[in-house]
Amino acid sequence: MNDQPILIVDDHRLFAEGVRSLLSVNGFTFVNILSDGRQLASLLETQAPRLLLMDIAMEHIDGIELSAMVRKQFPAIKILIVSMYTKRIYIEKLLQTGIDGYLIKNAGDEELISTVCTILEGGRYFSPQVGDILLKSMHASSGEAVLTPREKDVLQLIAEGYSTKEISSRLFVSVNTVETHRKNMLLKTGLRNVAHLIKWAYENGHL
């Protein structure tokens, strides 16, 4: 198992060397390093590593593009991303391409080794932080309309029967601003008119 070839793609040489020595200490002997991601495609024509260990932010081409390329042209190669980034968008994009693992760069030795083993055995592994971020983003994108305090102020006064002009002078804002809030509420909720809006707001506890 430990004789399977691994390729580290990282423009940060010191980090790559560190990982290589860590892997060799744990019995992984066929480990190569590639520091320029642009040469990956041509390299994979001649070499066939079982696992790619890759960073996201690299100087000339990023790990997300490289992952997509590898998935498409060399679907048999497994991909483990090892990155500092915890940006949701990167994680989402990488998952879409179908990577096998994602480790945050401050992971400990044992976590790295066990992840590499898991993936080589056909499993997948993601740092707990990655899972948290994905969960949070799923929660946040529920897309339910929420009213801002200013919008609530305006809606409250509309519901009490005040005209736009009256509202503007009560809230010390311009008529234009009141109109913007009103329009935004309709656009957000997709409701047709203010009457529907008031009904919706009452029913959903916004007023």
């Binding site: 949701r88 010390f172 913007t180 329009k183």
Partner: protein
Amino acid sequence: MLAHRSIICGISIILFHVCQAQPVSVYTDSIRTCLQLPRPDTGKYYLLLRLAQLPECPADTLLAYGHYWYNYTEKRHISPGRPEALYAIGLALYRKGMNPEAAERLYQAATVWERNGRNPLQLARTYELIAGIHKIMQRYADALAYYRLACRIKKTLNNEAILLSTYNGLGNTFRLLHQTDSAVHYLEKAHALTAGNELAKAQVSNNLGNIYWSLKNWLAARQWYQKALQSFETLQQPEGIAEACFNLGAIATQLQQYHAAIAYYNKSLEAVPTGQPVEHLEWIYEHLADAYFHTGNFENAYTNERAYDKIKDSLLSLQVQQSIAALKEKYETEKKEHALALEKERTARLLAANSQQFRFLCMLAGVALLITVMGFIMIRNIRRKQLLAAALAGLKEKEKQQLIQEQALKSNIAMLEGREAERQRIARDLHDRLGSTLSSVRLFMQSNQTGTPPGNSKIMLLLEEAVNDVRRISHDLSDNVLIKYGLEEALKDLKDTIESTGRLQVTLYQQAVDGLPADTASEIYYIVRELAANAVKHSDASRLFIQLLQDNRLLHLTVEDNGSGFNPAVTHKGIGLHNIEIRARKIGAQYTIDARTGKGSCFCFAIPLP
């Protein structure tokens, strides 16, 4: 600035008189019909006399009816009716601006009522009119005395509503005496009584606005002017609307809310009916030009500056006319004062009449002399104006060009400053966070604790920290996401970044926008980032709302927080707000700032889509 204001106030007083005299009521029509009858209907005299005292009745009608009723009471010996008639005549004369004559009749009426004590309400009204005349003649102490007399009587009548005019009069007199505390006190009392009387509400609100203006309390002034505007709009009174809008525009200028100012000034121009005094428009154009200039709309600024120049030129000759008018007025005032003095010293009437004749002759000679002098000045002015006009035009143009160049330079500098600030932030973060962590690692390595297990774990901890630092610093550089995945993702990423500081919960609501140019997207992104940074740094906000909604070809961006807010009039335009202004201008966005101390802030942008 204050000089402009006093002019406007002066005009507004004239305007109010003008609009009060507009015949709009059916009462007026019926009174007129009655007056045209071959023999007026004597049975209705008294009723019609009271009707004629309504503000919308023309003064001449009231005067005619006052005289009819007076003759009638004389003929029939109806003594209680006589002061009524005198009061009506006095009121009519007052409305016609014949103040000394009016005062004479009012004193007569007051004397009768004082003696018999039969009609305290009418007596109070008479005192108020006399006070009003004193006020016009700038004898404020006398005015106050009479208003107080009226106030004392009215208070005994157990009807608070009738005190409205008294309080208003007292407030205005104190205002003219620059005793603003007392003025505000009485005007607010008056305002509390204006329910159902829209015109009074408008005038009192306007007066309160004027006071707060003179105190430079812009927010309070704005509040009252807005109330006045609302009332004028209900009344559909163009002069009032124009004036209130102008005042609101001037305040918006003071608060540096130039877009709002432009809207108000334009509204004011729209409201001014044709044929109004041009000097009113002159100031609007000048202020409008100024506001457009501040928003960077130089084309409109220039157009309005031109309009201002045009009127100002015509005013040069107008000024001469005005100074003649002013002299005439002075003469009139003196004459009137003299007449009033006569009335007061009724015992010395004969002697006074003689001196009046003598003084009148002196005045006539004086006026003739003045007119000659003014004519001379007028001719000199015209010659000087012709010479100056050409030189001025050249200078103005040059000045404009220079200003435009300066403005462009300024915005470039601001952009650079923004970039520089970002660079400095990164440098500072690297130094403060990563630098110090790495230094501690080095120190630790130098010490002889390396190699031992506790020493190694300490180094591990420090290095871990360093890695985290780097991640945090690079996290702030979200620009890559914007370039690669567009605005929607960049805003989501920004939300994540802000929330990772643990200080602010961000509610992001955005709709997919089609056809958004890359430039616009990046400006929107940086605007949001700047505002979010402000919210984190300065406002103690716990929630931030970011909304990007599309309405036809307009994109509405709203950034709202629940923090401590700020007072836009006080807060110095830091680099942040300045950058926002420049970015908004770059993408043609109109924006408003709704910020109040303690009530959070809300920025609304309307961004045109191609």
